[in-house]
Symmetry: C2
DNA sequence: AATTCAAGTCAACACCTGTACACTTAATTT
DNA sequence: AAATTAAGTGTACAGGTGTTGACTTGAATT
């Protein structure tokens, strides 16, 4: 009967203050300052809760930050997995993938803003966590490319280099996108078109690449 | 006689507190936190001066930030101008240019760290100022490329796109470089080599590019 | 029905923050 | 030599900060 919520560590039923705190922090990041500049007190205030209540859910602000980071990447990884398993990369699907990705960015603006700001300005712990996630994406992309017959003759190191090139650019374009107003659809379309051209250019370059000269 | 320092607004002779304040802020950015998280008081403390002395040189912290930004880009522009006027871009000089650039980054680590952190986490004013500078570099690179016979048939929009691709990547690699310890020369060499390969790949892609289909 | 306990409140603390104001001092101008 | 002025100091205040400890409360466990 009342056993819906199982065993120990029952979910917070009515008191979803934890979520409120995370949402408040995220909102402040969007419209005020980088996460590292937020104070515990203003987060709790925005969450409509007394400062000391914070400690019932997180030991300190940096713990909140790491939770937020985890949340951001968990959903992003999920989306990436879907895009990836659709088809092997080729020029045709490029446009589609980019549209899906940037649409996702658009719908998760707050999380991306949070990550983007912390990537450069966060604590070392935070920065390393983010860079590790990005490296994971790069690795997965490199693995996908390895399966592409077109690239049989390219060695692992160069595949990594190519994937890095793509990821670097998408990251930069994402940040460019985040700088645009939410309503600026023209600007967003422009970024998308630039992205497509840049990736196509990379695609051409990849086609010409020869992994000779070994790795001196 | 005593007229060495001219007319009004004489240079601060002994009291080079202004420079001390800027140096202190820069040092704190390197080893503590993004500029936006620094307090006026800790900057003055590190500069060995009483808090209220700050106001003799800057109206507030954000003014110090803008001055720091100006200083950062003034010397960077100077270096870029030298590199640029050497020769038209081609594959041979690529390695050399990259070495010069990354060497410069290495020798101005504090300034680059400052800019890198403010690019994402600074005030809107700060972010816009930085993005404007970067856009200027992109434009200049596009102009250089336009002079390249190889690229006669590429229209202006696409040149801009290509320059953007290069700048995006160099920016990302610069940040990667800044994450490395100052003593990690192996890592730095690796970044340099990756950079060279990535730009060469872009170079190949540029060679294949055709600006047809106009801009739909 | 009694008990336990997670999740909330309130009051208080020691500290750090930006800035105003009045004062000194040494150098430059007159 | 006298006057001015840029650049430094010390004190003070009102406000924000993280964190403590003791208290309340209502729902889940027993």
């Amino acid at each position: 009967m009342t056993k819906e919520t199982t065993s120990r560590s029952r979910k917070p039923k009515r008191g979803q203050t934890r979520e409120a705190l995370m949402a408040a922090a995220l909102e402040l990041v969007v419209k005020k300052a980088p996460f590292s500049a937020l104070s515990l007190r203003e987060v709790t205030k925005k969450a409509g809760v007394v400062p000391t209540a914070f400690y019932r859910h997180f030991p300190d602000m940096s713990a909140l930050g790491l939770t937020l980071l985890d949340e951001s990447f968990r959903t992003l990884r999920h989306m990436m997995r879907q895009v990836r398993q659709e088809e092997l990369p080729n020029e045709r699907m490029l446009r589609g993938s980019l549209e899906v990705y940037f649409n996702y960015v658009r719908n998760n603006r707050a999380h991306f803003l949070f990550v983007s700001k912390e990537l450069a300005g966060g604590t070392p712990t935070m920065r390393n966590a983010i860079r590790r996630e990005i490296r994971m994406f790069t690795n997965e992309l490199a693995m996908d490319m390895a399966r592409f017959p077109f690239l049989n003759h390219v060695n692992a190191e160069d595949l990594q280099m190519m994937a890095g090139l793509v990821v670097n650019n998408v990251t930069a374009l994402t940040q460019e996108m985040l700088e645009l107003e939410e309503i600026d659809e023209t600007g967003q379309r422009e970024v998308l078109m630039t992205a497509e051209k840049q990736l196509r250019l990379i695609y051409f370059g990849v086609g010409m690449w020869r992994s000779d000269k070994s790795s001196s």
